[in-house]
Symmetry: C2
DNA sequence: CGCTAATTTGATTTTCGTCAATGAACGTGG
DNA sequence: CCACGTTCATTGACGAAAATCAAATTAGCG
C-alpha cells in the first residue's frame, strides 16, 4: 500500500483484459467485437518514469494514448512561466481531447507516477468510429463527462476559497485512484509537490502549504510524507461540497445490442 | 449594427442552410447525405427571449439543442448562491456536452440575447453516430476543441489577474460573435451585466467595474452602454496573451469521401 | 553524508472582496 | 408623458484572502 505506483506491473499480465475495456465495460455491456476493437488500441506499450514528459504543449504528434497503469496530468504554461494543471489522467482514460482537434497538443502531458501507456495513431480512432458506433457514442459521452469534470474544477477555482479548492481536489484524486481504507477514512500516496497542487487549483505553493496545515488542524486530513489520509471522507466532502460524478454515464441513447 | 440580437430573424429564411451545416462545413467538406442528416436535427424550432432559461441545472431532459441564432451561456450554482458561468454558446454550437453524459443537465442554460434553438432528442444523435461516422468524428473533435476552450478559461481564472481575465473574455466573445468593424477595431453589443462577466471569470461585479475602467483608462476599450469597442484588438490580445483557437479543427483522421 | 529540492514559517504587500451609498438607465403603470 | 420602482453601474472606505519575499528547516537521493 505504500507504493501504489508499482501496483500494476506484475498484475499487468492479468490486466491484459484491457484498461479501456474495463472502464468502458463498466458503463455499458460490450460485445466481443467491440472488445476486440478496443484491444487494437492497446498494442504498443510505452513506459514512462514518474516526472517524465510524454508529450509537450505545441508538439506535433499523431499519437494518442490509453492509460494502462499509473497516473498523469495535462498542463499548460503562460508566457510568464505560470503553469495551470488542467486535469489528471487515470487508468482507462484516453488522452485524446487535447490533441485530436489540432495537429499539435494543447497541453503538456506529464507522468505523475511511473506509468504505462498504450500508444495508437489517430487512424485507429477512425477505425473505432467507423466500425463501432456504440463505442464512438461512448467516447463522446466520456468526453462530455470530462468536460463536466473540468467545469467543476473551473467552478472551484473561480468561486471558492483555498480550503475548498484543495479539499475538493484531494477528494477528486482519491475518488479516481479508488483507494478505500476502512469505513470512512481513506489513505493514498500523493506524488505531487505543493507547486503541483497549487498549479491545479490556482494557488501558490506557499498558500497550499498553509491550507493543508489548516485541514490538518481541523482534523480533516493527516499527512506523512507523500501519504495522505482523509480522516473522514463524508465530512470533508460535505464541508467543501464535493460531489462524485464519476462511475456512471448515460448510455440509454445507445442501443443495447451490437449494430450492423 | 446597434442591435445584433435581432440580426437573424429576417435572415432566417435564407439561413435555412442549417446552422450546424455551415459551422461543420467550414471544418470539412460534407456529403449531401451528411447535410441531410444534420438538417434532421433542426426540425423543431424554439425561441427564447433574452434572459430566459432554456434548461435548469439538474433538470431531467432528453432534449439537446443546436443554436440557430443568438447566444447563450451555461452556468452552475454553488450552495452559497455563487454562480460560475462555464461557457458561452454561439450559432452552430451544440449544447450536448453538459447533458448527454447523464439523465440530467449539469448546467443551467440561459439565453443571453433573444435566440432561436433547434431541439432534438438523444435518439437523433444516435442516428448520426450510427449512420454518419465522419460526423460522429467531427462531433468528437468539436467536443475536444470545446474542452480546450474551457481549459483556456480555467488557466485564465486560475493563473492571471483581473485585467487579463476580462480582456481575454471580451476578445473571446468578440471572436465568436465574429462581428468585425473596421481594420483593427471591433465593436459589438454585450448584453451581459457586470455580475455575468464576473461570474464567467471569477471576479465580483465591483471588481469587474473597476477593471473595465482600467481598460478604458489604458485606451484599450471604449464603452457606450452595452456597446463595447475594443480599440486595438491586436494590442489587447498581445497584452493579455489571447490566442484565437477557433476557426479550425483537424479532420485529417477522417477520410475524405463518404464511407459506406 | 552531503547536496538539492521541497516544505514550512514569518513578515509584508497586493489584489480582490465586502459593505454601503449614490446615481443612471430602464420599464411600467397611472 | 411623467412618476416611481427596480435593476444595474459606479465609487469609496475598509477588510480579508492570497501573493510575494525571504529565510530556515526538512526530506529525498545519489
Amino acid at each position: 500500500m505504500t507504493d501504489r505506483t508499482f501496483a500494476s506491473p506484475d498484475l499487468a499480465g492479468d490486466n491484459r483484459r484491457s484498461a479501456l475495456e474495463r472502464k468502458l465495460g463498466h458503463y455499458m455491456t460490450l460485445t466481443y467485437s467491440e472488445r476486440d476493437a478496443l484491444r487494437w488500441l492497446e498494442r504498443r506499450e510505452r513506459r514512462y518514469a514518474a516526472g517524465s514528459v510524454v508529450l509537450h504543449e505545441n508538439e506535433e504528434t499523431d499519437a494518442l494514448h490509453v492509460v494502462a497503469s499509473g497516473w498523469l496530468h495535462g498542463s499548460t504554461r503562460l508566457p510568464d512561466e505560470a503553469r495551470q494543471i488542467l486535469r489528471f489522467y487515470f487508468v482507462g482514460d484516453l488522452t485524446t481531447t487535447f490533441s485530436i482537434a489540432w495537429g499539435v497538443s494543447a497541453a503538456t502531458l506529464t507522468a505523475v507516477s511511473d506509468c504505462t501507456l498504450y500508444e495508437f495513431p489517430r487512424d485507429a480512432l477512425w477505425r473505432i468510429f467507423s466500425e463501432h458506433p456504440r463505442l464512438a457514442g461512448l467516447f463522446y459521452g466520456v468526453a462530455a463527462s470530462e468536460q463536466v469534470a473540468m467545469a467543476d474544477r473551473l467552478t472551484s477555482v473561480g468561486r471558492t476559497d483555498a480550503i475548498t479548492r484543495i479539499g475538493k481536489l484531494l477528494l477528486d484524486i482519491r475518488s479516481q485512484l479508488r483507494v478505500v481504507d476502512g469505513e470512512s477514512g481513506s489513505t493514498f500516496e500523493l506524488p505531487l509537490t505543493l507547486q503541483d497542487l497549487g498549479d491545479a487549483v490556482g494557488l501558490t505553493k506557499t498558500h497550499v502549504s498553509r491550507t493543508l496545515k489548516k485541514l490538518e488542524d481541523q482534523r480533516l486530513l493527516e499527512r506523512d510524507g507523500r501519504i495522505i489520509r482523509i480522516v473522514d471522507v463524508a465530512e470533508l466532502a460535505s464541508r467543501v461540497g464535493f460531489e462524485d460524478r464519476y462511475g456512471h454515464i448515460a448510455t440509454d441513447w445507445l442501443p443495447d445490442a451490437a449494430p450492423r
